[in-house]
């Protein structure tokens, strides 16, 4: 199977070299500079990529669309790896992903791992993501993959069959998260299976500050809710919709259930506050301790209280995103600012 890698980059001059270098031995590499003003194109070319420069910033899906058309990538290759400009993949990423690209599979999603170096060892936002990715991928994502009900892929590190891209790539996706649109189109139009390849490792950059964390989560959740509304998720008879409804009810319980429980505890109607706090602590540590073992990031254990706080803030993001999706169910242009790179 012939494979090319496509990376859309807006001012990724500081990271694009490492991204290109990590994959250039595994496939041909193409970079589309999306109106960058920081030498992204030169850095990518120097690292060995073929480069296409857009004079102005058009947003990731439009940049990808234009690059695919300009280079005729879907005609020349059987599959495309689409990476973010700050993703670094393992030396066997493509081989591991292609091993899962069996007949009937259209998208293979790699394992997402946070780049969490020693210089930011106590950054709770990176710790939170390390933990969240681990927990999500060993539970929900793995099972969703087995039943072909993945509701979300990783735009930073996935592999797409060219025949699928020919059908779902459009210049302007109606949702602020482009891969949400591709995922839902794939399910709705029955364009093939979406599977997870846990052995295909990709290291990505995550937000390192509260503001960047909030903005990124808000965009992801806003895009998720736009997709639910636009693609009528949960309103068609399919296993994908059944699973999505269960997930949505879970989210509702999460957002509402937490505050309700806290209210009950505060009023001491059901339990002693000490008992409830202890129970909650046990619940969190029951996850963070195995997460620390499997990711070999022991700092996750002392960081657990911070994750409890972040979890509360995340409920606010949820509500904010629902309101945003009601007010802006579609976008005209899929442009956003990436979190600061490190």
């Amino acid at each position: 199977m012939s494979v090319a890698t496509l990376i859309a980059s807006k001012d990724g001059g500081s990271t694009i070299e490492a991204t290109v270098v990590s994959i250039r031995e595994q496939s041909d590499v193409y970079v589309v500079s999306d109106g960058s003003a920081d030498g992204t194109a030169q850095a990518a070319a120097a690292a060995g990529a073929r480069v296409f420069e857009l004079a102005e910033n058009v947003g990731k899906p439009a940049a990808i669309y234009r690059a695919v058309k300009a280079w005729k990538l879907t005609e020349r290759y059987d599959a495309l790896v689409i990476l973010d400009d700050d993703t670094v993949v393992a030396p066997d990423f493509v081989a591991q992903a292609l091993a899962q690209m069996r007949t009937g599979v259209s998208i293979v999603v790699g394992r997402t791992i946070t780049q969490w170096g020693a210089e930011r060892r106590w950054n709770v936002w990176l710790g939170s993501r390390t933990y969240a990715y681990w927990r999500y991928q060993v539970t929900i994502r793995r099972a969703q993959s087995a039943f072909n009900i993945l509701n979300c892929i990783s735009g930073s590190n996935s592999v797409y069959r060219s025949s699928l891209l020919d059908q779902v790539l459009i210049e302007e996706t109606p949702y602020i998260v482009d891969d949400t649109y591709w995922t839902l189109e794939t399910h709705r139009r029955k364009l093939g299976r979406i599977v997870y390849a846990p052995a295909a490792h990709a290291y990505i950059q995550d937000p390192t500050s509260f503001g960047a964390w909030y903005r990124q989560n808000l965009r992801w959740l806003w895009g998720t809710f736009q997709g639910i509304r636009g693609h009528r998720c949960g309103r068609t008879r399919s296993w994908f919709d059944v699973a999505y409804v269960m997930l949505m009810v879970d989210w509702a319980l999460y957002v509402v259930g937490g505050p309700v429980m806290l209210g009950l505890v505060a009023a001491s109607i059901l339990w002693d506050p000490e008992w409830a706090i202890a129970a909650m602590g046990v619940g969190y540590f029951a996850w963070t301790i195995p997460a620390a073992c499997f990711t070999k990031k022991w700092r996750l254990i002392p960081m657990t209280p911070a994750f409890v706080v972040i979890d509360w803030i995340y409920r606010v993001v949820f509500i904010h995103a629902i309101v945003k999706a009601i007010r802006e169910p579609k976008v005209q242009s899929c442009r956003w600012e990436s979190p600061a790179r490190y």
């Binding site: 969240a132 999500y136 060993v138 994502r141 269960m246 879970d250 999460y254 994750f307």
Partner: protein
């Protein structure tokens, strides 16, 4: 449930979480076996 990602679940998706954990554990054990064999 722990958030920070727009895709996690807990109570109603518990069967998926359990299936996912079993598959992950099986994958991990198989991977170790393959490494040992190699």
């Amino acid at each position: 449930m722990y958030g920070d990602l727009p895709f996690t679940g807990s109570l109603l998706t518990l069967p998926l979480i359990v299936v996912g954990m079993i598959l992950s554990l099986a994958g991990w054990i198989l991977g170790r076996g393959r490494k040992a064999a190699a």
